[in-house]
């Protein structure tokens, strides 16, 4: 028996959320007995893939077939199921993302396996396999028992604490993996891919500086970007801001946008509507800057400043620059 963890690659690097999934999977393997095996698909150097060992994996299967280079959830799900069969895996773990959910769902249907997405903590394995997950967009948690023989878990960021400074694992062995590829997984043609390479992705970022309608217009975003740069943060926004095309759609955070869980979320000129809060309630620390002392966001905040964003942001940027 083993635990199989799928890791997402971004430009040849294992995503941070995927390394968390590896650590999570290794802990599950400890509880249930067996090894934590990792599957990676696409281009990456062995030196990078070995790193999964530091987070507790014993082996990394690497599918480097050229046809797998471009993200393809259909073919990836097929590969995942084949890897699970090869390794005799009873628990399959992915990190929460569009790709993670898509692969997990298709794999679960192929394996007739119970699937739980949005898992926030390690499972209880005494007297049934029970997991806790986030529901109602962060407003509540559910504990669910998975009854099926094979179990598919999609885990959220921060589901397990990692002490980066004290990783105990050693490098994992990397093995080539060649899944059988089916033509039916390649019926779509990719017409174009647009990706902001240099930008930090919101789901991975530890710090996010986010702007709302209080930023007054796209031409006023520079002070916010300056603070983000000084803190090494990603930038986000509220829904009206992306609806108005002040910022790109992939920055839209909230109920109908991206759900984030950074260590620090700084909201600038965002009122804190419940639908926005739904996307940020996984954050460890929330700072709110708003000129209206009655803004609902303050109720969800750890630190608040009542004032004009355009006066406050430059002061914060100065202070942040002198930190390092």
């Amino acid at each position: 028996m083993s635990v199989l963890i799928y890791v997402e690659l971004d430009n040849g690097y294992i995503k941070k959320t995927s390394l968390e999934a590896v650590a999570y999977g290794a802990k599950v393997a400890e509880k249930t007995g067996g090894q934590a095996v990792v599957l990676a698909l696409g281009k990456a150097e062995n030196a990078e893939l070995e790193k999964a060992g530091k987070y507790g994996a014993t082996k990394v299967l690497h599918g480097a077939d050229a046809k797998l280079e471009h993200e393809n959830s259909l073919a990836y799900a097929d590969a995942l199921v084949q890897a699970a069969a090869q390794e005799g895996s009873k628990v399959i773990i992915l990190s929460k993302s569009g790709l993670g959910d898509a692969m997990a769902a298709r794999a679960a249907a192929k394996l007739k396996a119970g699937i739980v997405s949005g898992v926030t903590a390690l499972p209880e394995t005494e007297g049934g396999f029970k997991v806790t997950r986030s529901i109602f967009t962060g407003k509540a948690f559910a504990t669910t028992e998975i009854k099926s023989d094979i179990k598919v878990l999609v885990v959220r960021k921060n589901a397990v604490e990692i002490d980066e400074a004290n990783l105990t694992g050693s490098n994992a062995a990397v093995e080539a993996f060649q899944p059988a590829l089916r033509d039916s997984d390649f019926t779509a043609s990719v017409l174009s891919v647009e990706k902001a390479d240099s930008e930090l992705s919101l789901t991975e970022a530890e710090i996010i500086v986010s702007g709302g309608r209080g930023m007054k217009g796209p031409e006023h975003w520079q002070p916010l970007i300056d603070l983000a740069k000084a803190l090494g943060a990603a930038t986000g926004c509220s829904k009206p801001v992306s609806d108005l095309d002040w910022r790109p759609h992939h920055e839209h955070i909230g109920q109908t946008g991206i759900k984030v869980a950074p260590a620090l979320y700084i909201a600038c000129g965002i009122s804190g509507a419940i639908q926005h809060l739904a996307g940020v309630n996984g954050s460890k620390c929330i700072v709110v800057i708003n000129k209206d002392p009655e803004a609902p966001f303050f109720k969800a905040a750890d630190y608040g400043i009542v004032g004009d964003v355009f006066e406050i942001l430059p002061k914060l940027t100065e202070a942040a620059k002198s930190l390092k």
């Binding site: 993200e71 259909l74 799900a77 569009g98 959910d101 898509a102 692969m103 769902a105 298709r106 679960a108 249907a109 007739k112 119970g114 699937i115 739980v116 997405s117 949005g118 986030s134 967009t137 509540a140 948690f141 559910a142 504990t143 669910t144 998975i146 009854k147 019926t187 779509a188 043609s189 990719v190 017409l191 174009s192 891919v193 647009e194 990706k195 902001a196 930008e199 992705s201 919101l202 759609h249 992939h250 109920q255 109908t256 620090l264 419940i274 309630n281 620390c285 700072v287 709110v288 303050f298 750890d302 630190y303 608040g304 400043i305 004032g307 006066e311 002061k315 914060l316 202070a319 930190l323």
Partner: protein
């Protein structure tokens, strides 16, 4: 062109969530239910595509009878008929199996739904349905156009987007800005009353997962206010007290 749109019946986004029966059931008291916002986008685009292509649009809900006002609303927005699978679903796998069963009896060209439901937030039903039917599934879809037997799909990916061209049939999980939400007009509301709403019994599915209990998050502590004149002190606090820098 035959289109199926699957909708969820979920608490309004502003609803206060609480539980009853020893934290084993959602407290529906005083909670207003709506069509899932993502499903509403899928429905809006479905109606536009149906109007362009002169096809039919069926709306499907797996759930109990209290969802019927929302199903009628979908009919008022432009669906031709509706199916309700009469069940109290316990997990995504069950819902997907019901949708796949209905779909396998009717050859739909396009099965649309929201990228996720806003109650259980799993985002896996489209993938499950796709695999159960043996056809491709894509999500989250921000733009969808049809030409001949193909769909052109703009999909959101981490930090950007991707445009795909794929042959029908397809299962798609939708999100904005695929279409603007539609509000039913008076004529729609009148005609919706007489459109068919067929209630069918579920097919049996093994229990894959069983919900046990629900709970609310721990309450948040008080917000520490910092005077605007000392804004710069925030950074030190974040470093030394909150330890997030």
């Amino acid at each position: 062109m035959k289109i199926l749109v699957c909708i969820t019946n979920v608490p309004d986004t502003t609803a206060k969530i609480s539980f009853t029966d020893n934290d084993t059931k959602l407290n529906k008291n005083g909670v207003q239910f709506i069509i899932g916002p993502y499903d509403d986008y899928a429905l809006a685009r479905g109606v536009e595509l149906k109007e362009q292509s002169g096809g039919t649009l069926t709306v499907l809900h797996v759930g109990e009878a209290d969802a019927e006002p929302q199903i009628r609303k979908a009919l008022a927005i432009g669906a031709d008929d509706a199916i309700r699978v009469n069940a109290d679903p316990q997990d995504s796998y069950f819902v997907a199996a019901q949708i796949a069963h209905i779909a396998s009896q009717n050859s739909y060209d396009l099965i649309l739904m929201g990228r996720e439901s806003i109650d259980y937030n799993s985002g896996v039903v489209h993938g499950l349905v796709g695999e159960m039917l043996g056809i491709p599934s894509y999500s989250p879809v921000m733009k969808l156009d049809l030409e001949g037997g193909n769909a052109t799909i703009t999909r959101e990916i981490d930090g950007g987007k991707e445009v795909l061209k794929a042959p029908l049939p397809l299962v798609l999980g939708c999100q904005e800005p695929i279409a603007e939400w539609k509000i039913p007009n008076m004529r729609g509301i009148m005609t919706a009353r007489t459109k068919p709403l067929n209630v069918v019994e579920p097919v049996s599915v093994d229990d894959m997962t069983v919900p046990q209990t629900y709970r609310l998050p721990a309450p948040k502590g008080a917000c520490k206010m910092i005077p605007a004149s000392e804004a710069e002190t925030l950074i030190k606090l974040l470093q030394t007290v909150a330890k997030v820098l």
